[in-house]
């Protein structure tokens, strides 16, 4: 299948996502410049980690105005699988493709370490290959990953099972100590109501090979391959309508 990895001028994990998709998963992948307006027939879109426009203002605040975001939005509206990783998640929030917002980490420091994340739902294109409640060891590296949403929004997220990843301990238990940034309800990742747009702060693409300390992230990328293949099998035209 074909991945499109969007490249904003300050993206810095774009090559990581590209490498994971092409070299690790052996799929087709292309880097798409943020000034382009077309995703080149991609079947899945990755908004990568980084500091899209330096992000001195607010993470992802300026990126949402990049020309490519029109195509990303249209792709998402057609039900295409879109994943925002770290800064990509922040961009999706700023663009309103996902609800809520990020504030400074509770401890205010940039935090870079491996954390445990529990897969809450497997009915999204990015968790389809996971087992329910599977615990993944993934690196985080962010200063603003403290997820916030107003109480009613949060309630709705929970009610609709839109919380896809939560920070837990190694045993998969939700604890205050395992929450690295103060996110409400230990939220590490969510999806939209239609479930095709997913955002998460941890970096699965940086944990796709055992040499890097963990290969747990691989399943997230593998999931979308599986999901798209399933889609292909079910209705080829559905897929064409994506591209």
């Amino acid at each position: 299948m074909k991945f499109a990895v969007v490249v904003f001028p300050g993206s810095n994990s774009d090559r990581d996502a590209f490498y994971a998709a092409s070299h690790v998963l052996g799929q087709e992948a292309s880097l798409v410049w943020h000034k382009d307006t077309d995703l080149g027939g991609a079947e899945a879109v990755v908004l990568p980690g980084g500091f899209a426009h330096g992000d001195y203002l607010r993470t992802g605040a300026i990126a949402r105005f990049s020309p490519i975001m029109g195509a990303v939005r249209a792709f998402a509206d057609r039900g295409g699988p879109v994943i925002g990783i770290c800064n990509g998640f922040q961009v999706l929030l700023e663009a309103g493709l996902l609800p809520g917002a990020m504030v400074r980490n509770r401890g205010i420091k940039f935090t870079s370490k491996h954390v445990h994340v529990r897969v809450e739902q497997t009915d999204t294109p990015f968790t389809a290959a996971c087992t329910p409640n599977q615990v993944l060891l993934l690196p985080i590296a962010h200063g603003e990953g403290n997820y916030f949403a107003e109480p009613e929004v949060l309630a709705e997220l929970e009610a609709n099972r839109q919380v896809i990843f939560r920070y837990t301990n190694a045993a998969g238990e939700i604890t205050a100590a395992s929450n690295p940034n103060g996110s409400l309800n230990n939220i590490a990742g969510i999806c939209n109501p239609r479930r095709n747009v997913v955002g998460l702060m941890p970096h699965p693409e940086r944990a796709a090979e055992i040499a890097l300390g963990s290969a747990d992230g691989r399943v997230v990328m593998a999931s979308v391959v599986k999901a798209v293949q399933a889609l292909k099998a079910s209705s080829p035209q559905a897929l064409r309508s994506l591209a």
Binding site: P9, N12, W33, F51, G54, S112, K113, R206, L212
Partner: protein
């Protein structure tokens, strides 16, 4: 009539005899702008006038050397057509004035040096020195520097994978911030900072030029409008986003092949870039400051030429291919502007709106800068501090010493710092910070690069020559313990005021030590940096040469780390335990003393030991390896249990000197490894063949650290408690009341 009088010269830090030399080189009196150019280019920082004669003695050649000292960074061949490009830089003084920005802009500077060579930066390391964490000032500086190092590297997306941090009162008024950047590129893609081809256009790209960092000496110089003087900021604010744009745009532009030469504008800004590129290329250069993008109004040529605004580059482009270059920069929303052109001859000509305002031979600014063989004199106190009467030391329970040492900030885990550094971006980091040498893999190859930065100011204070050799040995040994064969080195010389003979002696001795050690260990020095005048109120820091060593793993999958991998693994000590506690962390922490002679170093044995461990790792004869340094054997064994998932260790060693010296002495050339019953014999045989002492001292396993000396249990502690103390020591101190 000339505006240049004694006071002006003094403000420019130019000595009378230096001025005479300037007049001689110019064939006339310089004007003020020209004097300004000389003042920055002949400054210690740019000209290395005090250290040059010593640096010349360092070994800089070897079969793998692709680029030695002289360019923006050095480069060594790592096989398969690839090379490793690396260099270390310091930003000590700015980091004291404004820790966050000082450190951040320091990182920015060294990153530019690397991509200027055409290499993509893939790793950063930092060597830091601060005062005692028990003081609010040191905590503030430490907090700011770490945030600044992270803040800059993180946003550009270059992982900070390693480093070292030492806390000692001697750095209280003068912290050290040394940053090493490592990049890789195809050997054929290396670019030089030379201006060639008369008629070729010279382009400026990056941040606009402001009044930043203009040579302090010239502040309030009467010839300027007073306002411009006070308009000059004391420190600069880094712009990592601009740097990221420059990095990507420059690497893309270099691919076009339209670039003849490129150089970043760091210290001495445009003055340095224009004159160095000219003299390197054997050409002249002519520019008009009117074309230089300016951030502020009313800037005079003097300010434009001397400004040290960050994130700026100068490029020489092949005539006729300007468009290609401009297009790439436009893509990244950067606007490259032509500021001049390369000329025949060797003169640097600076114009203001067409009017010639400076005209001088560029080599006068660079190659012909003064070189001093400054007087050197061993300090009167040197012999005294080397005295150590072990018998007079208070008797201390080794278990208590152990508890204190693993929680001493210099020895304790540095995770408080590196957890603020993105070390996973780039997906190359296969040995993370915290595991001794860092290792990054080289994609598209099977190879890996191990890197370590090390220095021991205390050793160098007690014995500069030996201390410097020990720094080389430790950095290289750390790299070897990861499985890397040392293939190149860089160094940062942090010293006091070179005009004082005893400081100059320390520097001379240290460089001699670095040279001897590098020759013995076959490590070519491909570059480095010198930071002098590191003093406050006339009190110098410890002489602190910091060594950066890069090692090559042909097979990155063989990378070795310090932790025990399983229980019941035989633990072997390679090398001799000589019980030397001179200059040790133990003496400093437990007895408040900095004295004695540092450990002896037999270079031949060190070389043999390192070859042995690299081979043992390659052949799978060991499961873990960790070198003995700060805190000695006891701390090293403890570190083998930390992060291992709670695996303990039980060890029995004979007495060397006394019990404390046996456990905490910092003798060189020692490595603790764990192996398997199957491979043990082969390991011991290999050691024997290499002439390296190898003793089975115990086994991994259990949940305690049990160390016996001469049949007596000296230390018996649960791993969990010890690890907790070691892991949280710095965080705990940082929470302390102001």
């Amino acid at each position: 009539m000339s505006v240049i009088d004694a006071t002006v010269l003094e403000r420019h830090g130019i000595k009378p005899d230096e001025y005479d030399r300037i007049v001689e080189l110019m064939g006339r009196e310089p004007n003020l702008l020209e004097l300004g150019l000389f003042s920055v280019m002949w400054s210690e920082h740019c000209s290395y006038k005090s250290s040059r004669v010593h640096l010349k003695t360092l070994p800089t050649t070897g079969p793998r050397v692709v680029q030695g000292p002289g360019e923006n960074a050095g480069a060594v061949d790592i096989g398969g057509g690839w090379c490793a490009v690396f260099k270390i830089e310091s930003h000590n003084h700015p980091s004291f004035i404004e820790p966050y920005q000082g450190a951040a802009t320091g990182v920015g500077g060294i990153i530019r040096d690397i991509f200027t060579m055409g290499a993509r930066p893939i790793a950063l390391l930092n060597a830091l020195r601060f005062g005692s964490l028990d003081t609010a000032l040191a905590r503030r500086i430490f907090e700011g520097v770490v945030a600044g190092v992270g803040g800059y590297g993180n946003s550009i997306g270059i992982p900070t994978v390693g480093g070292e941090i030492v806390f000692d009162a001697r750095y209280a008024g003068n912290p050290l911030v040394n940053v090493l950047c490592l990049g890789i590129c195809r050997i054929d893609d290396i670019v030089k900072g030379a201006a060639k081809g008369p008629g070729n256009p010279v382009f400026y790209v990056g941040a606009k030029t402001g009044r930043d960092g203009i040579h302090g000496a010239t502040m309030a110089s009467a010839e300027f409008d007073e306002r411009s003087a006070e308009k000059r900021p004391a420190v600069q604010v880094g712009d990592p986003f601009m740097e990221k744009l420059l990095l990507e745009a420059c690497l893309e532009v270099l691919k076009t092949g339209a670039v003849v030469g490129i150089q970043d504008m760091g210290a001495a800004g445009l003055s340095c870039a224009t004159s160095e590129m000219g003299s390197r290329g054997g050409c002249g250069m002519s520019i008009d400051v009117m074309h230089v993008p300016q951030r502020e109004t009313g800037m005079v040529p003097y300010e434009i030429m001397l400004s040290e605004s960050q994130e700026r580059m100068l490029l020489v482009v092949e005539k006729g291919r300007e468009r290609e270059v401009e297009d790439v920069f436009e893509k990244w929303d950067l606007h490259a502007v032509q500021v001049g052109e390369v000329t025949e001859g060797s003169r640097l000509k600076i114009h203001e709106r067409g009017k010639l305002v400076a005209d001088l031979p560029n080599r006068a600014l660079t190659d012909e800068a003064p070189v001093y063989r400054r007087p050197m004199q061993e300090p009167a106190w040197q012999q005294d501090v080397q005295r150590l009467d072990v018998g007079k030391l208070a008797v201390i329970d080794p278990a208590d010493a152990f508890d204190r040492l693993i929680a001493s900030p210099t020895i304790a885990s540095k995770r408080w710092a590196y957890n603020q550094y993105d070390h996973t971006v780039g997906t190359n980091t296969i040995a993370q910070p915290g595991l001794s040498a860092a290792v990054v893999r080289v994609k598209e190859t099977s190879r890996g690069l191990a890197v370590s930065v090390d220095g021991n100011g205390r050793f160098c204070y007690l014995h500069p020559y030996r201390g410097a050799m020990l720094a080389v040995a430790e950095a290289s040994r750390n790299v070897a313990c990861a499985g890397g064969e040392a293939i190149g080195g860089t160094n940062n010389l942090n010293f006091g005021n070179p005009e004082r003979p005893e400081i100059m002696w320390q520097l001379g001795e240290a460089v001699r030590g670095i040279g001897d050690a590098c020759r013995a260990l076959e490590i070519p020095i491909t570059g480095g940096n010198v930071s002098l005048y590191n003093e406050t109120e006339g009190r110098a820091i410890f002489p602190t040469p910091v060594l950066g060593v890069v090692g090559l793993l042909e097979d990155a999958s063989k990378v070795c780390t310090r932790m025990f991998k399983r229980a019941a693994a035989p633990v072997v000590l390679l090398g001799d335990n000589l019980g030397e506690i001179g200059g040790s962390e133990y003496l400093a922490v437990m007895h408040g003393q900095v004295c004695g002679v540092p450990p002896v170093l037999d270079l031949a044995r060190e070389a043999a030991l390192q070859k042995l461990i690299v081979r043992a790792i390659r052949e799978g004869l060991v499961e873990s390896a960790h070198d003995c340094s700060d805190g000695g054997l006891a701390v090293t064994l403890a570190e083998c249990t930390f992060d291992s998932g709670g695996l303990g260790v039980t060890v029995e060693v004979p007495v060397a000197g006394d019990v404390s010296a046996t456990l905490f002495g910092e003798s060189a050339s020692r490595i603790v490894v764990s192996t398997t019953d199957e491979t043990l014999a082969a390991l011991l045989a290999a050691a024997k063949a290499a002439g390296i002492a190898a003793a089975v001292i115990g086994k991994s396993g259990g949940d305690r650290i049990r160390l016996s000396v001469g049949g007596q249990v000296a230390i018996d502690r649960p791993v969990s408690g010890a690890e907790q103390a070691w892991a949280t020591a710095i965080a705990t101190r940082m929470k302390a009341k102001q």
